[in-house]
């Protein structure tokens, strides 16, 4: 009789644990193979722009001069093309998905300037250090390291400001 064939599931359902995941009260369990969002190890990035050219959604913007890599998480479709095509393999996908928001904004990562060699810097009073191109990454004038206001300052120099008092 067809009517009693579902009795097993119904009676079992009275005693078994419900299948509902208790999200958002308990955190989500995400398998590690899940393509959630793209993360970058910015220090290894060479700003070649390959990921920007290959992205089908146009979500990545690479600025070679500023050494920045920025992604619009609201346009990213998690296809992992950028991860596959990166020549230095500095991109990876992690299971945690990008969070919703009320405002669309890009997420930008900027490569920090490499550590400066231990060079004594003498600043002559009255001469303002010239603000050269930010974060060129070259080991050129040590004074330019002091004026790298956009990126975090290199370890040996004190934070930029009036440039007073370090020798």
């Amino acid at each position: 009789m067809g009517y009693l064939s579902f009795a097993g599931t119904i009676l079992g359902g009275l005693f078994k644990k419900p299948v509902t995941t208790q999200y958002p009260l308990k955190p989500a369990v995400l398998p590690e193979e899940l393509r959630g969002r793209v993360l970058i190890d910015i220090q290894r990035c060479i700003s070649c722009g390959m990921c920007m050219r290959k992205c089908p959604a146009g979500a990545i913007v690479v600025d070679r001069s500023a050494k920045s890599w920025s992604i619009n998480r609201f346009a990213c479709v998690q296809c992992a093309t950028c991860v596959d095509n990166c020549p230095v393999k500095c991109l990876r996908m992690e299971p945690q998905y990008a969070a919703p928001g009320t405002v669309k904004q890009n997420e930008t990562f900027v490569k920090q300037a490499a550590a400066q060699p231990a060079v004594a810097v003498t600043l002559v009073k009255g001469v303002t250090p010239t603000a050269s191109a930010p974060a060129t990454g070259t080991q050129a004038a040590a004074a330019s390291a002091a004026t790298a206001a956009k990126t975090a300052a290199a370890p040996q120099t004190t934070p930029p400001g009036d440039g007073a008092g370090h020798a």
Binding site: G2, Y3, S5, F6, T9, P31, R35, P56, T81, M93
Partner: protein
């Protein structure tokens, strides 16, 4: 001569998951004619081949439709590989077949839930989508996505499934067989659902052939048209498989065909898991596509054609998809003639409409 009214159905309607507009000409309560208007999902993505390289276009091709996503990705890759004479490894073919049959199971369970919801049978909708989540968990672990998989690439597949995982998948599917049988038995024996489906939306054998219907629509009218039988390049030859047909020609028959296809697919995947060989999963792709090629695939909704044309550059010049719902819409309009007004949602859902496939 009854009262003649024209009732607009859609594009936004509680029973419709996608926007389609039908103008129903009614004579009292009987539908005399149905005039469809489509175009609400047309994105013109066939034109995007001019802007994306052929290796990246696979991500756009698989987003033609989220339900048949794997099928479109495979169809595009199959047509470009045929054009460039690339022979993919046997393990890749098996993996693609396993994913495609899993996609068929998830699509049919989805359709069953929507069909029951359209009828008002909400508890069956919940049970069938609960079972579908098991299939989606398998997809998540093996491809990285629940709905859009991005698993195919030109030359093979992007990820491998280890043999231990494959045996785990076979165990899950064997356990699912009894649960699916339980809920579908209820669906087919419940007097209310039987009375809403039997002898409703008749599409005779001659009408099915005349309107060129495909898929379960035509298999329920007694014609055993299934591309998997004719596929020479795939692995369906190695799997023991017969197409499911019946000749009731009504909604009940189409529902029955789809449910039997779920069981057939469960069987096929278990067979494929036993026969899968070891080996590579992809071959490198060199050169550019040149010429024309035509590939076919049996999607959950019917037979789909994929045509590509290249001119020896990194961008294809033409990509044309003929999807199954494209052909089933005229058959649906034919089946709507003479039915009751209250049967319209049932008939529309019984062709398993995928309007985003139709309009690309």
């Amino acid at each position: 001569m009854g009262k003649h009214t024209v009732v607009p159905f859609g594009p936004q309607h509680p029973v419709l998951p996608e926007p389609i507009h039908l103008d129903l000409e009614l004579d009292d309560e009987k539908v005399v004619r149905a005039i469809p208007s489509i175009g609400y999902i047309h994105r013109g993505l066939e034109k995007l081949v001019e802007k994306r390289e052929f290796k990246e276009y696979v991500f756009i091709a698989e987003r033609i439709c989220g339900i048949c996503a794997f099928g479109h990705g495979w169809g595009y890759c199959k047509s470009v590989e045929g054009l460039m004479n690339i022979e993919i490894p046997l393990r890749a073919k098996y993996l693609r077949t396993i994913w495609h049959e899993l996609s068929r199971i998830h699509s049919h369970l989805l359709w069953l839930g929507l069909m029951a919801d359209g009828m008002g049978f909400e508890s069956l909708f919940m049970h069938s989508w609960r079972l579908r989540e098991k299939v989606l968990d398998i997809f998540e672990k093996t491809t990285g996505g629940r709905v859009i998989f991005s698993a195919c690439k030109i030359g093979g597949v992007r990820r491998d499934i280890e043999d231990s995982e494959l045996h785990g998948i076979a165990e899950i599917l064997r356990g699912m067989r009894d649960e699916v049988r339980e809920i579908t038995d209820i669906f087919f024996k419940e007097p209310t659902s039987v009375s809403r489906l039997k002898d409703v939306g008749i599409l005779s054998k001659e009408a099915a052939v005349a309107t060129c219907a495909v898929g379960p629509m035509v298999r329920a009218s007694g014609i055993p048209l299934d591309y998997r039988v004719a596929d020479t390049s795939g692995v369906y030859r190695e799997l023991n498989f017969t197409p499911v047909t019946t000749d009731t020609c009504d909604c009940y028959g189409r529902c029955w065909v789809r449910v039997q296809e779920i069981f057939a697919s469960l069987d096929m995947i278990c067979q494929a898991i036993e026969k899968i060989p070891a080996g590579d999963i992809a071959v490198p792709v060199k050169g550019n596509p040149n010429g024309e090629y035509f590939a076919r695939l049996e999607q959950p909704r019917g037979e789909a054609f994929y045509y590509v044309k290249g001119n020896n550059t990194t961008h294809l010049t033409r990509f044309r998809v003929r999807t199954p719902t494209n052909m089933n819409l005229p058959a649906m309009v034919e089946a709507l003639k003479g039915c009751d007004y209250a049967d319209v949602p049932m008939i529309v859902l019984t062709i398993d409409p995928c309007i985003s496939c139709t309009e690309r």
